[in-house]
């Protein structure tokens, strides 16, 4: 069996948890730290499982962040599209990533975290490549020559045989286990990093959508009950729940 070439896409973003919102609905990102998408560790874990049968992992990322992230986790080299900007249009990001995958060349599988921060990127990447795709994947293995992916479907779990080349978008079901140690992190910085620009990939920034600003959502605030007097709080809640018809 030929060794597989596995591309792992990873993405650093300003952590939305840190974003501060003003009373006028404006967002202050200044205090936000860069963080890798929650699902990216699961994606590279799948890559390591697939590479164990004989394969090479290449990291692919856009914009800023820790360019050595994938290298510290098993990638032999990393391609970075340095001037890619964050875009609410996932098709724009998908196009940049697809161009990156094509530039890397001869990939058998592309793994990407199927992040709730933007559920569109993984499927846009797959469709721009024109490859077979599955999203919401929890794990994948090689069965001889064949790629098998596991995913939840309704009330069941399915194992699906996937022809290559394919894009698998992976859901994490837990926080990263076995984070790399100092040795891997230091060795990672010595691995090759290939920096590309949009111009190198013959791409121009897309502007299919234009942002017109942000506002606070129209949600009703929670009814808060002070629990300092537990018995009183309990009575208050029970009364309210009866009125709602859920008791």
């Amino acid at each position: 069996m030929n060794p597989m070439k596995i591309v792992v896409v990873f993405k650093f973003l300003k952590n939305p948890e840190d974003a501060r919102v003003g009373s006028d609905g404006s967002v202050d990102w200044r205090g936000a730290k860069m963080a890798v998408s929650d699902d990216d560790p699961a994606a590279i874990q799948v890559a390591r499982n697939l590479a164990a049968a004989g394969g090479e992992i290449v990291g692919l990322t856009v914009g800023d962040g820790d360019a050595a992230w994938a290298a510290a986790r098993g990638a032999s080299s990393t391609v970075i599209v340095t001037d890619a900007q964050s875009n609410p249009d996932a098709a724009a990001t998908g196009a940049i990533l697809a161009a990156g995958v094509r530039r890397i060349g001869d990939a058998d599988v592309v793994l990407i975290g199927d992040s709730a921060w933007d559920y569109g990127v993984s499927v846009a990447l797959a469709s721009q490549l024109g490859w077979t795709a599955l999203a919401g994947v929890s794990s994948a293995t090689m069965d001889g020559d064949r790629l098998r992916a596991t995913r939840k479907f309704g009330d069941s779990t399915q194992v699906i045989e996937v022809a290559r080349p394919a894009v698998l978008a992976v859901f994490a079901s837990r926080a990263e286990q076995d984070a790399p140690g100092m040795k891997e992190v230091l060795a990672a910085r010595k691995k090759p990093q290939i920096k590309l620009t949009l111009a190198d990939l013959d791409l121009t920034p897309a502007d299919r959508v234009i942002s017109r600003g942000t506002k606070l959502p129209d949600t009703t605030a929670a009814r808060m009950i002070d629990g300092a007097d537990p018995a009183a709080a309990a009575t208050q809640l029970v009364t309210a729940l009866r009125a709602e018809g859920v008791l």
Partner: protein
């Protein structure tokens, strides 16, 4: 302006249809799955349903090229799907054929002249961002599941699908375990988080659940790290997404990964001693206090109600 809905399940169907109707034109639903799904979608009231039956062993994603071609021929201005994995893959394929923008976390749609205005949740739902789309836009809808306006059920047209080939082949299907099934259909659920300090303290949860006639659930770390319950009891994005009438979260901070598991619950009650707990921002009722005192008090109050 025409819109298409791509459906592989009935999640948020009412909300998706309502959003499509804001665009004002003909609404077609492409359904990929069993006939029962096509009928359920038709009943919700789009103008037309085009139904692709999945051949044995072929998952819905195998039909992406055909569905995408059909969308391209119709050239709608807006395409919508839910966040379901299969639906998103089909939506992505359609968007590429249309040269459409792809926007996720979509809450609302509107039209202003030639512009489609897309409202999407940003910064983890803390704000709604408005995006102007001058051309076609594919929307992954994640907004409120409002009941659609009453209308005639649509006609279901079965599409004579081409054989999708073997690029994707389902080799095994296992139904989720029984524990999940009970949790999924329960009207009331009490859920334990890391605020519970010791396994022995779970009696608090059990007593409250008994008083309510509720199923017990938990957050992911309670299963993975503390190992107090199995994964069939976990509520969250990758485990159980449930819609009970009443969900009482005890000592759970409410990280998005967990909170999304109960976004369709009718009433969410949060009991936590941390005023900054994220769950307080999205629940219906919050009790700020010591769960070790509040939970027994609540159990007692429920016994008195009878």
């Amino acid at each position: 302006m025409e819109s298409w809905i791509i459906a592989t399940d009935t999640a948020r169907l009412g909300g998706i249809l309502t959003a499509a109707r804001q665009i004002g034109g003909h609404v077609t639903a492409a359904v990929v799955g069993p006939r029962s799904l096509a009928d359920a979608v038709a009943a919700a009231g789009p103008d037309h349903v085009r139904w692709y039956a999945c051949r044995d062993g072929a998952p819905p994603e195998a039909y992406a090229p055909q569905v995408a071609e059909a969308v391209q021929k119709a050239a709608p201005r807006v395409v919508l799907s839910s966040t379901a994995s299969a639906g998103r893959v089909l939506l992505g394929a359609a968007a590429a054929k249309l040269g459409a923008a792809v926007v996720s976390s979509v809450q609302t749609l509107a039209v202003e002249g030639d512009i489609v205005k897309v409202g999407r949740a940003a910064a983890q739902g803390k704000v709604i961002e408005t995006l102007d789309a001058a051309g076609a836009v594919a929307c992954i809808f994640d907004g409120e599941d409002v009941a659609p306006a009453a209308s005639q059920p649509a006609t279901v047209e079965e599409v004579r699908a081409e054989d999708p080939g073997d690029s994707l082949r389902v080799v095994e299907t296992s139904p989720d375990s029984g524990g999940s099934a009970g949790l999924r259909t329960a009207a009331r659920v009490v859920s334990a988080g890391l605020g519970i300090r010791a396994k022995g303290d779970l009696t608090l949860i059990q007593d409250l659940a008994a008083a309510l006639g509720a199923e017990i659930a938990c957050s992911l770390p309670v299963c993975d790290d503390m190992r107090w319950y199995g994964p069939e009891r976990v509520v969250g994005r990758t485990h159980n997404q449930i819609a009970p009438d009443l969900y009482i979260a005890v000592g759970i901070s409410g990280q998005p990964q967990h909170a999304v598991g109960v976004r369709d619950a009718k009433v969410v009650v949060v009991i936590n001693n941390d005023p900054k707990a994220t769950f307080f921002k999205i629940c219906d009722y919050g009790i700020l206090g010591d769960l070790y005192k509040v939970v027994p008090a609540l159990t007692e109050a429920l016994k008195q109600v009878g």
